[in-house]
């Protein structure tokens, strides 16, 4: 009370903007007053602020239209109220929205553009936009399907923008313009019938149609709209605050949308990829609770859209996200927990990639369990059980994600699970999806705990699926191995390393190792000697086995020896083989060692790829860790290329700035020569970086070609063998392998797009078995 109170200054413009933004964003949140009175109040405040802050208000409203689609109808109502009070403002808002829509389309922000289109269409319900002009816009959208020589994904987007607005505005548009709407819907139907759907199998989470078909997203939406039409456009789920203001709004003058010409297709246009709608629940799964809307009901579409939007808005704030999901309106009319779990798994399993980092979904589900401890864990357990039951037809990439999620989730709940419920998998062949899944889960659980813990948490009958104790296998360890070639050198090395020998000392010890490939000996004596590699790598890794840090130190300390021994391609391959031999019980260790060896350039990416496809690894070929290593390797290669490209761009920018400075300072040309000297280093740098970029890009392309080549060889072998012996092609191994090939395409599709011509002409030619070619064709169809 003794503190002098700082006199509040008249607010700065930015403070006003913040306040306005806050007011607008908060409307619709939990409040003591009704939504209607809050909207009315806010409309009054904004109307009063229009003379001074119109452009700020316009900007904020356009932004919420674009970024808060889950609150669409709240904001369309607000705009409706403002338009009723100020016709000019309504007109300016519509114009601003159209400008924003054009901008979004120009910069490939298609997902946000859909929200803008939906917002505009709901403005028809608020008497801001005249229905006939909205229909006219949709006519222009649908006519995109008549364009020639454009990618199908372009037409798809315009179709989606039209159809996905109909739950909100279908009724109003049909009432005003039924003939035009019928024509549009019939054009829609014929487009959907003729569009190709080669891409669908590649994007489906399950290959089976039972119990829920995995539908292509436009097909599903079309079914939903057809049903909506059959129900005479009666839609009861969407909250429509504008209904309460009907008497005010219907007095308002409406605006006509200006004629909207969809911007033409350009080379730089990148349209959203097609999707498959993920469904795992229906009304039979929650018999006690409210009925889940059917898969072809428009309610299902709206709920899913809104829940996805909430996650998109709040992905960084897991507690807020969970709270917002759980406070989605309609809680007692829909089985919200089921919808939430389904939507989260839809994202987690989405192909090619989840919208957000995988670990986010694990933590989000944990937050949801915390907020609804009496109900959500049960739904999650039910979902897990269902996913387990359908493993036989689940896409391998999705199984990977299921394994990662489930093991990480369990590690937060003391690994408590009713494993006996899954005893059915114990009688199956270990390569079948269910036992394979349990094995991989237990292995991952072990990585997050320790071996004995895993033995303790599963019933004794599950021991056949338990992971191996992750101990190192040292072939020279036992006295009984003393007859092995290299044994004595190994002993020697062990002592030397323990006595802190240098690289040179190691080299001289290794000189005594005979070369089993005597013909490969050249004068230098450093030719590929597999025995040298074996003895050195086995011994070193054994000595450093205590922890990752110990092993990394060892790699660093004896980097020179490694580089020399692994100089040739065969050397690199052999190093990898020995690492595997030593650590085959500890896949996690193999992965971190391979990562380190790539980063310190002991081996290169191509060597890792060749090693993965080598016959020595055939036994582990379908194990999860192998593919984690391969994808990690590809990612390192991609990041490396990006890094050098970025360096090149930055250096070019520096040169450009330097030129600009020179040009602006220079009045006469006397200083030409000295400026050249300044440019010299930069220009040389750019030349060198250019070479580096080209070399890296070439290495990157080569890596993918090697991988594809090896896949083709492996799959062709299998197909030929099956054909000649008359056995069915679709073994568990084959399913896994072909889906791993798909995974390469999907996970790295942006890079691979650059190689389409080479792939088509060199590898995926017409002579290829149609099973393999289909994968390539499905991939091509994704952006066609």
């Amino acid at each position: 009370a003794g503190q002098p109170h700082k006199r509040r200054r008249t607010s700065e413009p930015s403070e006003i903007e913040e306040r306005l933004e806050s007011l607008i964003c908060r409307v619709g949140e939990k409040s003591n007053s009704s939504l209607e009175s809050n909207l009315e109040g806010l409309a009054g405040v904004l109307e009063a602020d229009l003379p001074n802050y119109k452009s700020k208000i316009l900007r904020i409203l356009c932004t919420v239209a674009r970024l808060l689609p889950e609150k669409l109808t709240v904001y369309t109502t607000l705009v409706g109220l403002l338009n009723a009070r100020n016709y000019n403002f309504g007109g300016e808002f519509v114009e601003a929205m159209i400008r924003q829509l054009k901008e979004c389309l120009k910069v490939n922000m298609y997902n946000e553009a859909v929200h803008l289109v939906r917002f505009l269409s709901d403005l028809v319900n608020c008497h801001v936009i005249a229905a006939p002009s909205m229909v006219a816009m949709f006519e222009n959208f649908v006519s995109v399907t008549q364009e020639e020589d454009v990618p199908q994904v372009r037409c798809d987007w315009y179709m989606f923008a039209f159809l996905s607005s109909l739950p909100w505005v279908g009724k109003e548009l049909y009432e005003k313009k039924d003939a035009e709407m019928d024509r549009l819907l019939s054009q829609t139907e014929s487009y959907l019938k003729r569009r190709q759907k080669i891409h669908v199998p590649m994007l489906q989470v399950w290959t089976a149609d039972k119990p829920h078909p995995q539908e292509e997203y436009l097909d599903c939406l079309w079914s939903q709209i057809q049903k909506l039409k059959k129900d005479r456009w009666q839609e009861r789920h969407i909250l429509r605050p504008y209904l309460a203001f009907d008497s005010i709004l219907c007095e308002a003058l409406q605006h006509n949308l200006p004629p909207f010409t969809p911007p033409p297709h350009t080379e730089d246009s990148v349209y959203p990829m097609p999707r498959v709608i993920f469904r795992m629940f229906d009304y039979t799964d929650d018999p006690e609770g409210p009925v889940m809307p059917g898969s072809h009901s428009v309610e299902r579409f709206v709920i899913e859209e809104n829940l996805h939007c909430i996650i998109k808005s709040h992905w960084k704030e897991r507690k807020t996200c969970a709270a917002q999901l759980l406070s989605y309106p309609g809680n007692n009319k829909i089985p919200l927990n089921y919808h939430i779990v389904e939507v989260i798994f839809a994202e987690l399993f989405q192909l090619p990639s989840p919208p957000h980092i995988e670990v986010m979904y694990t933590t989000l589900l944990i937050e949801l369990c915390k907020l609804q401890p009496g109900s959500l864990p049960q739904v999650l357990a039910q979902a897990t059980e269902m996913l387990y039951m359908r493993l036989d037809t689940m896409n391998t990439t999705c199984v990977d994600r299921f394994i990662n999620w489930f093991s990480h989730h369990l590690s937060n709940f003391q690994f408590r699970w009713s494993w006996e419920d899954w005893s059915d998998c114990l009688t199956q062949d270990l390569e079948k999806p269910k036992p394979k899944f349990v094995r991989e889960v237990l292995e991952k659980c072990m990585r997050l705990s320790y071996h004995q813990r895993i033995i303790d948490i599963v019933p004794a009958s599950f021991s056949v699926l338990s992971p191996a104790n992750p101990v190192c296998i040292y072939k020279y360890g036992d006295e009984s191995n003393r007859s092995l070639p290299g044994y004595t050198v190994a002993l020697c090395l062990t002592i030397a390393i323990k006595n802190k020998a240098s690289n040179d000392e190691i080299f001289s010890i290794l000189k005594d190792v005979p070369n089993p490939n005597k013909d490969d000996d050249n004068d230098e004596g450093f030719s590929f000697n597999p025995l040298k590699i074996e003895v050195f790598v086995q011994t070193l890794l054994h000595l450093a086995a205590k922890s990752f840090s110990h092993s990394f130190s060892a790699l660093a300390k004896f980097h020179e020896v490694f580089k020399t021994l692994a100089e040739s391609d065969e050397g690199k391959l052999h190093v990898l083989r020995v690492v595997y031999e030593v650590w085959k019980n500890h896949p996690q260790m193999i992965a971190v060692l391979v990562d380190k060896m790539i980063r310190t350039q002991i081996v290169d990416c191509a060597a890792v790829a060749n090693w993965i496809f080598s016959s020595e690894l055939a036994h582990d070929f379908t194990r999860f860790y192998i593919w984690e290593i391969l994808h990690s390797t590809i990612r390192k290669m991609n990041k490396h290329v990006l890094k050098i490209q970025k360096e090149l761009e930055e250096t070019k920018a520096r040169l450009a700035r330097q030129h600009k400075r020179r040009d602006s300072d220079d009045d006469d040309d006397d200083d030409d020569r000295s400026s050249d000297r300044e440019d010299g280093p930069l220009e040389e740098q750019i030349e060198r970086l250019q070479e580096k970029v080209e070399s890296a890009q070439s290495e990157q392309k080569n890596l993918f070609l090697v991988i594809f080549q090896r896949f083709i060889m492996l799959l062709t072998e299998h197909l030929v063998r099956c054909e000649t012996s008359g056995i069915d092609v679709f073994t568990p191994w084959y399913k896994s392998c072909i889906e791993r090939l798909q995974q390469i395409f999907l996970q790295h599709h942006q890079i691979i797009q650059q190689y389409m011509v080479t792939l088509e002409n060199l590898l995926f030619t017409a002579e290829l078995d149609h099973h393999i070619l289909a994968v390539f064709q499905q991939f091509c169809a994704l952006q066609a």
Binding site: S22, L68, E317
Partner: protein, 165 residues
């Protein structure tokens, strides 16, 4: 406000409600042993790729830490916290990522979840320096284990002061 309706409809603009990233914000903690100004320290914290991880069990291994924190991105290095006297694990570590974004995701999604059945806590670190891997408590472990009164089986039982009673 500006004249006319010429406000740029910037498609990259956002809303402060969507900018919120509280898990990534700096905590109140500042390492008192940091050499440099508060300003320097905060500048380093804001671009750091290194996290301090606390409330680990003494038995949690580098491998477990690597597995968990690897879920938000590629790890450059894990440095285990050690008792200054015994040179054994004393319940904390540093995790360094190659990319800041990966460290941010760890703060968003791994902080406050369980490792080895314990809720672990992550915080930004200004960067590892030799010597910082050791506990600063008088007995050699972490300060918090000097004075705590509760029994924690994963952290040597009772606090050191209690043990000496």
């Amino acid at each position: 406000g500006a004249a006319g309706g010429g406000a740029a409809m910037c498609t990259s603009g956002t809303l402060s409600v969507l900018r919120s990233d509280s898990y990534v914000d700096l905590s109140q903690y500042r390492d008192q042993h940091f050499r440099g100004t508060r300003y320097d320290q905060e500048r380093l914290l804001r671009k750091s790729c290194t996290l301090y991880v606390g409330n680990l069990s003494f038995y949690t291994t580098e491998e477990q830490i690597h597995e968990l924190f690897g879920k938000s991105g590629d790890i450059k290095k894990v440095i285990m916290g050690l008792d200054k006297v015994k040179k054994t694990a004393c319940g904390f570590c540093f995790v360094e990522y190659y990319a800041r974004g990966d460290a941010e995701n760890a703060m968003r999604y791994i902080n406050g979840t369980r490792l080895d059945d314990r809720i672990i806590r992550t915080d930004w670190d200004a960067g590892f320096k030799e010597g910082r891997q050791y506990g600063r408590g008088r007995s050699g472990g972490q300060v918090r284990d000097e004075y705590r009164q509760d029994y924690d089986a994963g952290r040597g039982g009772y606090g050191k002061t209690v043990q000496c009673q």
